[in-house]
C-alpha cells in the first residue's frame, strides 16, 4: 500500500507492505538511518522520533498508521547547518559514547524541552526513562539536557 509521511519537512511516499514498521520506513529512506532500533519489545527507546511533535517509539507503530502525519527524526534537529541546543548539549557534556541510543535520547529530550523549557533533573530523568543507555550511566545525559535548557532560554526569550 502507498504510505506518505512528511519526514523532517520532506514528503516521503512509498509502496510498502502494510505490516512495515515505521522505524523501517524511516530507515529505508535515503539519508535517514539515524533512527535506530535495539530491541523487540519497545523497551530500549533507540527508535524514538517525534510524530506531530510528540515523542513516539517508531518501532511500535506501523508506517501505515502514520500516513498523512509529520515525523521528525534526529536528522531534522539541525536546521540550515545550525545545531539544535540538544545536539550541542550532548556534545558539550559528553552525553554519548557509542552513539547508538543517542538519537532516541535526543528526541525524547527535545520533546521534554518543547513542553517544559526549564525541567528539574528529576523531570529530565523521567523524560528519558523510556530509553536505555548502556554506556553513559545517564549523569551526563541529564547534564546535557540541562545545558540545552539553559542555552535555549535566551533564544526563546528573543523570539
Amino acid at each position: 500500500m502507498q504510505v506518505t509521511i512528511t519526514i523532517n519537512g520532506q514528503t516521503v511516499s512509498r509502496d510498502v507492505p502494510p505490516q512495515t514498521l515505521l522505524v523501517h520506513f524511516i530507515r529505508d529512506t535515503p539519508g535517514l538511518t539515524g533512527t535506530h532500533w535495539g530491541c523487540d519489545t519497545s523497551n530500549c527507546g533507540a527508535c524514538i522520533v517525534q510524530i506531530d511533535g510528540k515523542a513516539v517509539k517508531s518501532c511500535t507503530q506501523l508506517a501505515a498508521m502514520v500516513d498523512g502525519h509529520e515525523v521528525k527524526t534526529i536528522e531534522g534537529l539541525e536546521v540550515d547547518g545550525v545545531l539544535d541546543p540538544i545536539q550541542e548539549g550532548f556534545h558539550e557534556q559528553h552525553a554519548l559514547h557509542c552513539g547508538f541510543c543517542t538519537p532516541g535520547m535526543m528526541m525524547a529530550s527535545r520533546s521534554l524541552l518543547d513542553e517544559n523549557p526549564d525541567p528539574t533533573d528529576e523531570e529530565i530523568r523521567v523524560a528519558i526513562s523510556g530509553g536505555i543507555c548502556r554506556c553513559t550511566g545517564y549523569k551526563n545525559i541529564v547534564a546535557a539536557v540541562r545545558w540545552a535548557a539553559e542555552h535555549e532560554a535566551p533564544i526563546k526569550q528573543e523570539v
Binding site: P18, D40, A64, M65, V126
Partner: protein, 288 residues
C-alpha cells in the same frame, strides 16, 4: 528486529464503520489504537491478525469531561492525557498515581485507556483503577450500546466482555461526595509491569467509610476485585489497623503466580503492604 507477519490495514472513519468491518471480517481482525500492546505481540508473533483497523482518526473518542455527575473518558484518551487531566486530578487522583508508573512517558503518548482495558493484561494498572472506582464501560455493537460495570468486564485472562464485533467507546465514573483514591504499585524497575499493585478508592462521609473499592493488579489471571476487603471497610471509621486487616484479606484473596517477578508468598505479602498504603493515601485525600 522481530517483524510482524503480513497483514492487511485500513483506517476507520467512524465507530459504526469499525463495528461493521469487525462483523464482516470476523475475529482475525483486530482494532489498533495506541498499538503498544498489539504491535509488540505481532512482532513476537504472539498475535497474528490478518487485518487491522486503525481507529486513531476517531478523534471524537478522545475526551475527558464531566457530564452531570459523571466523569466520562473516551476510549481513545491517551495515558498522557489521563496523567495531566485536571478533572481527573480533582476527582480521581488514582489515575495520575497509576499513570506515573504505567510504562514510560514516550509510550504514554500513544497508549489509550480503551486499548489498555481491552488488552486486559492481568498486570495492567488502569483495569485496577477503573475497577476500584466502580466505573462502567460503554460497549457498542451492531445492536447499539450497552453499559457494563467493571465487575462484569473481566471474564478471563486477556478476555473481556467486549464481543467479537463490538468496541469499547467510553468509560464512565460516578462523582460521589467524600471520595479519595490512590494507586500503589511496586515494580522491579521503572517501566516494568507490576510485581503487585493495588488501586483503592474510598468514600468517607461523617467520619465513616460509606463505600470502598479495592482492585488488585498482577496477582491473578485478571484484575481482582477485593470485595471481601471492601465489605470489611464499609461502615467503619478509617484507621491504620483497619487498613492492615483489609490488606490481609486482599492478600488471602489474591491468586498470584510465581514468576520472574517473585514467588507466591512474596507477592501475597506485597498485596497486603500495597493495599494498606493505598488505603492510607486514599483516606488522606478523602479527608482533605
Amino acid at each position: 528486529m522481530q517483524t510482524p507477519a503480513p497483514c492487511g490495514y485500513e483506517r476507520a472513519s467512524s465507530v459504526d464503520g469499525v463495528i461493521a468491518t469487525l462483523a464482516e471480517r470476523g475475529p482475525s481482525t483486530r482494532i489498533v489504537a495506541g498499538g503498544h500492546s498489539l504491535i509488540p505481540m505481532m512482532k513476537l508473533r504472539l498475535a497474528t491478525p490478518e487485518h487491522l483497523i486503525d481507529i486513531n482518526d476517531l478523534h471524537e473518542l478522545s475526551y475527558i469531561r464531566q457530564e452531570g455527575e459523571e466523569v466520562r473518558i473516551g476510549a481513545l484518551a491517551r495515558h498522557v492525557d489521563l496523567l495531566r487531566s485536571e478533572l481527573l486530578a480533582e476527582h480521581f487522583p488514582v489515575f495520575a498515581d497509576a499513570e506515573e508508573v504505567i510504562a514510560d512517558p514516550v509510550v504514554r503518548n500513544r497508549g489509550t485507556i480503551g486499548g489498555s482495558l481491552c488488552q486486559a493484561d492481568p498486570g495492567e494498572d488502569l483495569s485496577a483503577v477503573c475497577s476500584a472506582l466502580k466505573a462502567s464501560v460503554v460497549i457498542r455493537g451492531a445492536g447499539g450500546e450497552r453499559v457494563v460495570p467493571m465487575h462484569e468486564f473481566h471474564v478471563g485472562p486477556y478476555m473481556t466482555a467486549v464481543g467479537d464485533a463490538e468496541m469499547l467507546t467510553e468509560v464512565r465514573i460516578a462523582i460521589r461526595p467524600g471520595a479519595g483514591s490512590a494507586h500503589e504499585k511496586l515494580e522491579r524497575r521503572a517501566g516494568d509491569f507490576a510485581i503487585a499493585a493495588t488501586s483503592a478508592a474510598i468514600w468517607i462521609n461523617g467520619g465513616t467509610i460509606t463505600d470502598a473499592g479495592i482492585a488488585l493488579a498482577a496477582v491473578g489471571p485478571f484484575t481482582i476485585e477485593a470485595t471481601r476487603a471492601e465489605e470489611l471497610l464499609r461502615g467503619k471509621a478509617p484507621s491504620d489497623e483497619l487498613f492492615t486487616q483489609a490488606g490481609a484479606i486482599c492478600s488471602e484473596d489474591s491468586m498470584p503466580a510465581a514468576d520472574g517477578r517473585g514467588p507466591v508468598d512474596y507477592k501475597r505479602h506485597l498485596v497486603g503492604v500495597l493495599t494498606k498504603r493505598a488505603l492510607r493515601r486514599a483516606t488522606a485525600r478523602a479527608l482533605q
